[in-house]
């Protein structure tokens, strides 16, 4: 019998409205009992004073495989994920070649299975090679079990192409995810357009570039039954637009990344490329609006946008360095710092944003501790003070601005399919 018993923890399962002290019994990869378990066989984990939650889901990560394996692989990315408490991740299709056909979707699944750490769900490209011109083979990718579509890295510029994509996707019931960025308006900007960019003499990306495409896509979405998921929103304006859209009944969900809840463009003052991100860090008022949007439900989930890059790529002039930072291994602690510590939301809401929230958007049978479901479980110590040490990351890359940050919560146990894939050793 393959048994795992997690005892005495505070079980927080928003999918099933559970928030109580209890035990979870896992057998043969499935949750068989939740409550008070008398059985003491198999591996026993004492989760006293810890939180026991459905395996955390990050629906926006870049695993760089195929194509940029020096930066990250499905293997190293999965290791980073479970170390961060994530049991499932959705990987973006901006690889080389792009994930725009069934064969590449299949490849990702096979690689993930071979590594056997976290569940990896590929998102397929909306257009061929993410070029924004012709629709990709969505049908075949769905057959390959892709979970959503996005050209992430870029937004679909042409409104006609976007409309066709939303219409075509109606057949499959998968969400279209959009990186809202009008390239013409963004005008080659490398950071937020504002006082900092002016003073630093760098081209800025106006908020309009995000908000205008967001507004456009919401109107397009109304014409179809496809759900639109808006990736990494960054501006106060975007939160207002989405709030209104939801009130009008438009089928939209939204995610936000940890850096947009914690950092502003002031961080770029030193031209440190560890703060060069797309979409860029904005201002304090934007951060405030995003935190409020998380609290009032305008934002449906949290996603890290983990984007590995080599040091040699990042050690360049700010203008030329690639955008992106990694955070899988400390994202949970960052969310706690941004949302729990200042009492903006409570733990059940945070867990919802990281479990049933993303699972619901993607239609995945995950993010739940219901009896019978796959045993993806994360145990969190909500009072674990630790210092982020980027050097020790399992990710292949080191482009992370959080080195040295003091965080107060950490995943101590990650169980995927009933097997322990990560356990914090002191």
């Amino acid at each position: 019998m393959n048994e795992l018993l997690i005892k005495n923890g505070r079980i927080i399962d928003p999918a099933n409205n559970v928030d109580a002290i209890g035990d979870i019994l896992v057998c043969n990869g499935r949750i068989v009992q939740v409550g008070i378990v008398k059985d003491e066989a198999g591996t026993i984990i004492d989760a006293k004073d810890k939180l026991v939650v459905p395996g955390l889901i990050d629906m926006h990560v870049h695993l760089r495989e195929p194509g940029d394996e020096e930066e990250e692989t499905i293997a190293s990315g999965s290791a980073a994920a479970v170390a961060g408490g994530f049991t499932s991740v959705v990987c973006m299709p901006n690889t080389e070649p792009a994930i725009d056909n069934e064969a590449t979707v299949d490849f990702v699944y096979r690689q993930a299975a071979a590594v056997d750490l976290a569940n990896v769900f590929p998102a397929g490209a909306i257009t061929k090679n993410r070029a924004g011109k012709e629709l990709a083979e969505m049908g075949q990718m769905v057959r390959g079990k892709v979970v959503a579509f996005t050209d992430d890295g870029n937004g679909v510029q042409n409104p006609v192409v976007m409309l066709k994509a939303l219409q075509y996707a109606e057949m499959f019931g998968k969400p279209i995810m959009q990186h809202c960025q009008d390239d013409a308006l963004a005008a080659g900007g490398c950071m937020n357009s504002g006082y900092q960019a002016t003073v630093l003499g760098l081209p800025g990306m106006t908020r309009l570039a995000e908000e205008l495409m967001l507004y456009r896509d919401l109107q397009l979405t109304r014409q179809t039954s496809t759900r639109l998921h808006v990736q990494h929103i960054t501006t106060a304006g975007s939160t207002q637009i989405i709030r209104q859209a939801k009130q009008q009944g438009i089928r939209v969900t939204a995610e936000v990344a940890p850096h947009h809840l914690l950092l502003t463009d002031e961080a770029c003052q030193d031209y440190d490329t560890n703060y060069k991100i797309n979409p860029p860090l904005r201002s304090r008022s934007d951060v405030k609006a995003l935190l409020e949007a998380v609290a009032d439900g305008t934002i449906d989930c949290l996603a890290s946008d983990h984007a590995p890059h080599l040091s040699s790529e990042k050690e360049l002039e700010f203008l030329l360095a690639p955008c992106g930072i990694i955070s899988l291994e400390c994202a949970l602690g960052l969310y706690v710092k941004a949302l729990i510590e200042p009492s903006i939301i409570d733990w059940p809401r945070l867990i919802q944003l990281m479990t049933i929230g993303p699972a619901g958007i993607l239609g995945l049978d995950k993010g739940t501790l219901a009896v019978g479901s796959a045993a993806d479980i994360t145990v969190i110590d909500p009072h674990h003070s630790w210092r982020v040490c980027v050097e020790k990351f399992r990710s292949k890359s080191r482009n992370c601005p959080y080195d040295g940050w003091q965080l107060s919560a950490r995943a101590v146990l990650t169980v995927v399919g009933g097997k322990i894939k990560y356990q914090l050793s002191d």
């Binding site: 006082y195 002016t198 760098l202 050690e315 360049l316 700010f318 203008l319 030329l320």
Partner: protein, 339 residues
């Protein structure tokens, strides 16, 4: 290096000047925004002392003898580069010229590698011009040598800003309350930015003139007044600094035509009639005669353009001298104080 006995130096009577003593502590000159009023004035005062070298028969002083100055230029520029070259030579330094198309393209060598390779040969000062804002700043993290910014993207062009305010001071004395207009494509101008900070710190009132489409996004947060109507303020200005307009760079999406620009913002003979009699006309060069400035004005009695070039040499000599001094001056034992 053996530390020389300060007692002996102090013995030298010329050190006991009654004048204010100032210790320049910046090993790098990256921008004017961070310079205090005292620092700015010190550079200008030092440049005074260098002006006369160019008038002598032997136009050299041994201040940087044995030092190596590298001109690391990633952007085309003959005048600035020549100016720095000559400045370094006048101080008896050895000058190395290095031009590159663009540093960090994947096929080429990165900026970091280039700089470190040079440093391995033993260099003391790097003068860098680059099209990416922040590149000189980035360099200071890669190498030990002194870094002087000769223009980075549209961030700053500190020595241009310095020679501009030096020129104004030479002609007008104290800059406090002086009204200075900067006219042109402010959004993409590093000369404008350096001037804004330098002028503001020395107490001048800065007016930015140009079309709304060529103003930087957050211009209202800068210590300036913005004006779209040149004619409405020209009678009040003590200084008019005309920036070079590059239409290839701007494109007609922001400015309909050359003709429209000249009519609205060009410094014409007509406009000069409305200006103060002793208004100082400046231009960082090279001139687009007939575009942003009419020939007669550029060559006229109010023009300080050639004076700017002469002063540029003195200012750059001062800057090279000072950063080198900062590199050899030890930190003060009690902590930093300047009278």
């Amino acid at each position: 290096m053996p530390y020389r006995d300060t007692e002996k130096i102090a013995q030298n009577p010329t050190d006991r000047g009654p004048e204010k003593k100032f210790t320049w502590r910046r090993k790098h000159l990256l921008n004017l925004r961070e310079l205090s009023r005292e620092e700015l004035l010190h550079v200008l005062d030092t440049a005074e002392g260098f002006k006369e070298i160019s008038r002598r028969s032997i136009k050299k002083a041994p201040a940087l003898r044995g030092k190596v100055v590298v001109n690391l230029f990633f952007e085309d520029s003959t005048r600035t580069r020549n100016s720095f070259s000559l400045a370094a030579s006048r101080l008896s330094a050895d000058v190395l010229e290095f031009t590159a198309k663009s540093s960090s393209i994947s096929k080429g060598e990165t900026l970091r590698d280039t700089a470190r390779n040079l440093e391995a040969m033993g260099i003391d000062i790097v003068v860098v011009r680059h099209n990416a804002g922040g590149a000189p700043h980035f360099l200071t993290k890669c190498i030990d040598a002194c870094v002087v910014n000769a223009g980075d993207g549209y961030h700053e062009h500190p020595t241009q800003g310095l020679l501009d305010i030096f020129t104004i001071r030479e002609l007008r004395g104290d800059l406090t309350g002086l009204k200075a207009a900067i006219v042109g494509d402010i959004a993409h101008s590093r000369v404008a930015r350096s001037n804004i900070w330098g002028l503001h710190t020395l107490g001048a009132e800065v007016y930015l003139v140009g079309p709304p489409t060529l103003m930087p996004a957050a211009v209202k947060e800068l210590p300036v007044k913005v004006c779209y109507d040149f004619d409405s303020i020209i009678n009040d200005m003590d200084v008019v600094n005309m920036l070079r307009i590059q239409f290839e760079r701007i494109g007609s999406q922001v400015m309909p035509s050359v003709r429209e620009y000249s009519r609205l913002f060009g410094l014409t003979v007509d406009r000069m009639k409305r200006a103060k009699k002793d208004v100082i006309v400046m231009h960082p060069g090279p001139l687009n005669r007939g575009l942003e400035i009419e020939s007669e004005v550029a060559d006229g009695p109010n023009s300080a353009i050639l004076r700017q070039v002469t002063n540029g040499l003195a200012v750059r000599m001062a800057v090279l001298f000072l950063v080198n001094q900062a590199a050899t001056t030890l930190p003060s034992p009690q902590g930093e104080t300047n009278p």
